[in-house]
């Protein structure tokens, strides 16, 4: 496990930003999903040792974030959500300083600054002052800042914030490359589901300082069972009520097609048996692809229902 927390709570005055979170994050790329105010950034800053947890424990790469903050930061990179740069310095100077602050020798930091800037696509602009960069370039610059000291784990807080579609694709491609080909574990915090879906293997859904769901994307998609699109010939209302009487959710996708949600323990056999029982013919049957958005909305609805 690269990250583990046990009953981790953070309180700012009366406001409880994290409510006793217990997590275990394996290596690879993990997405932290949640609406604004869910506690994603607070969790990342707590794991970086920037915020002291009120109660509970947290370990990053086997290091306690309370007692080994500096060692954690030496091995971890961070892409902040907000715009952050050194005024009046070009990208090479900025990265050299950041590399040196992480413990690298000046010459190593300088040569690695060039290398990392080429990697993130800023090679040609590396001698320009960072404040003259476009938003997309600044995001890449922040990624370079997170990678300069070659961390084992990077936290990326809203890495595609404010980027245009093509820049966003490039950034996601970079994140995929970092996690899959460079051997660096990645935790991506975002409220943009397609971003997380495209570059993460596992997802943690958060809301109001709590973890609502955790698992691989495939697991979460299958967790709530499977939804099928069904078209029948015969009495549609009898067929639909057969399922609703048994507690299955049935909705109309269009005037001709039902959307029937079955629990994980069930299968298409149930649909066929229902067709026989109701005397209808099945003319169309297709499993509906659940997106991460469905999982996310389900999780949030579940949390709201529990309130």
């Amino acid at each position: 496990m690269i990250i583990s927390t046990d009953q981790l709570s953070v309180r700012f005055g009366k406001f409880e930003a994290l409510k006793g979170i217990s997590l275990k994050i394996p290596g690879g790329a993990t997405g932290l999903l949640g609406p604004n105010g869910a506690g994603k950034s607070t969790l990342i800053k707590t794991l970086l040792g920037l915020i002291k947890p009120t109660t509970g424990q947290a370990e990053v790469l086997g290091l306690n974030v309370k007692t080994a903050r500096r060692q954690v930061r030496r091995r971890v990179g961070y892409l902040p959500e907000r715009e952050a740069y050194f005024a009046d310095r070009n990208a090479v100077l900025t990265l050299t300083v950041l590399g040196e602050l992480a413990g690298m020798k000046f010459s190593d930091a300088r040569s690695r600054a060039h290398e990392v800037l080429y990697y993130v696509g800023l090679g040609e602009a590396r001698y320009r002052r960072v404040q003259t960069y476009s938003i997309g370039m600044k995001q890449r610059m922040k990624l370079a800042s997170a990678l300069i000291h070659d961390p084992s784990l990077v936290f990326l807080d809203e890495p595609t914030n404010g980027m245009d579609p093509s820049g966003r694709d490039d950034m996601l491609e970079l994140i995929r490359d970092v996690s899959r080909n460079k051997g660096i574990h990645v935790v991506v915090s975002s409220h943009l589901l397609p971003d997380v879906e495209s570059c993460c293997d596992q997802v943690i859904v958060m809301n109001l300082g709590e973890v609502l769901r955790q698992g691989t994307i495939e697991e979460l998609r299958g967790e709530a069972g499977q939804t099928y699109l069904v078209r029948v010939k015969g009495d549609r209302s009898v067929f639909a009520s057969h399922f609703t009487e048994r507690g299955r959710a049935v909705t109309d996708r269009d005037p001709r097609t039902f959307r029937i949600a079955l629990p994980p323990s069930s299968s298409t056999r149930e649909i066929f048996e229902a067709a026989v029982a109701c005397g209808v013919q099945i003319r169309f049957l297709e499993p509906e692809m659940r997106t991460l958005e469905d999982v996310f909305l389900n999780a949030l609805e579940g949390a709201d229902a529990g309130l």
Binding site: Y78, A87, L98, L101
Partner: protein, 298 residues
């Protein structure tokens, strides 16, 4: 074509302990300021002009005093001038510096040290590295201290060395120039540090309070200049020498006179010393509150 370079590789070089992280910050700030041509031509080079002027004056007067071809009057005036090249002469250098350059250094170098970092959220970059707030503070502090020492202690010591090297040999039975002024180098070093520490701490505290360096610089200028005016007014009204504590510049100069073992015009140098001490401690307290890792939390 992918945006990334496939040649990227993992870093396998040595990683230090980050023992001198403050120096990394100081070094980068110093390099940045030396790269600003305007600052170089308008502040760094002019800061050495008083020293050059005083060196030239000493040299020329020495030539006149020892010349046989010039009228006797000129020689007498030159000798009188050279008699003044004593402790007061070196202190005059600091007085010139305090009247102009100290104000400008504070405004143009000190004001943006922290305010710019707050404006650009650079603290998030600093504090997500393995550094402590004290490293950050020392790094910023070291920058202004460096420039203040570079433009006070260095030229003052050079001026002293120059005066020693050109001073005529003492007549028998009289003490040499070196013996008469042997306390001066220590006073130069000590006073330069006192001035640099007080001004840098205060300037950093001011810088940490704002995000706009121009505003911070203007506040510094206002405090520096108007506190002198306040001092003169209160002194006139009350007749008390202790009113010197109102003015930062005059307090520094009064403490400086004491360090240089010069007669003090006002006998309340203790009040000035207390004021500088309180100002420094208050500035440190402000910095401790403002420079916190929690700053990164929105």
């Amino acid at each position: 074509m992918p945006v990334y370079d496939q040649g990227y590789r993992r870093f396998e070089g040595p990683m230090g302990s980050g023992f001198a992280n403050w120096w990394v910050i100081t070094k980068s700030e110093i390099i940045l300021r030396f790269s600003r041509k305007l600052l170089l031509f308008l502040l760094i080079i002019p800061s050495f002009l008083p020293m050059l002027g005083m060196m030239i004056a000493v040299y020329v007067m020495l030539q006149i005093a020892t010349s046989d071809q010039l009228p006797m009057g000129a020689s007498i005036i030159a000798k009188q001038f050279l008699d003044q090249v004593s402790t007061e002469f070196y202190f005059l250098f600091f007085k010139i510096h305090a009247s102009t350059f100290l104000l400008l250094w504070g405004a143009f170098v000190g004001s943006d040290l922290i305010s710019n970092d707050r404006k650009t959220n650079a603290m998030e970059l600093y504090f997500t590295r393995p550094i402590r707030p004290v490293d950050y503070l020392l790094g910023k502090f070291g920058t202004l201290v460096f420039f203040l020492l570079f433009t006070t202690m260095l030229p003052a010591l050079l001026l002293y060395l120059f005066a020693i090297s050109v001073a005529p040999e003492a007549a028998e039975g009289t003490e040499s120039y070196f013996e008469a002024t042997k306390h001066v180098p220590g006073a130069i070093v000590f006073y330069s540090f006192v001035q640099a520490i007080v001004v840098s701490t205060f300037m950093l505290a001011l810088s940490s309070l704002g995000r706009n360096w121009i505003l911070v610089g203007a506040i510094w200028g206002g405090v520096y200049l108007f506190s002198q005016v306040g001092y003169r007014i209160v002194q006139e009204l009350s007749g008390s020498g202790a009113a010197v504590a109102i003015s930062l510049r005059d307090s520094l100069l009064l403490v400086g006179r004491r360090i240089f073992q010069l007669e003090t015009e006002v006998e309340h140098w203790e009040a000035a010393a207390w004021m500088l001490g309180i100002l420094t401690v208050s500035s440190l307290l402000i910095l401790c509150r403002r420079i916190r890792v929690v700053e990164t939390v929105k």
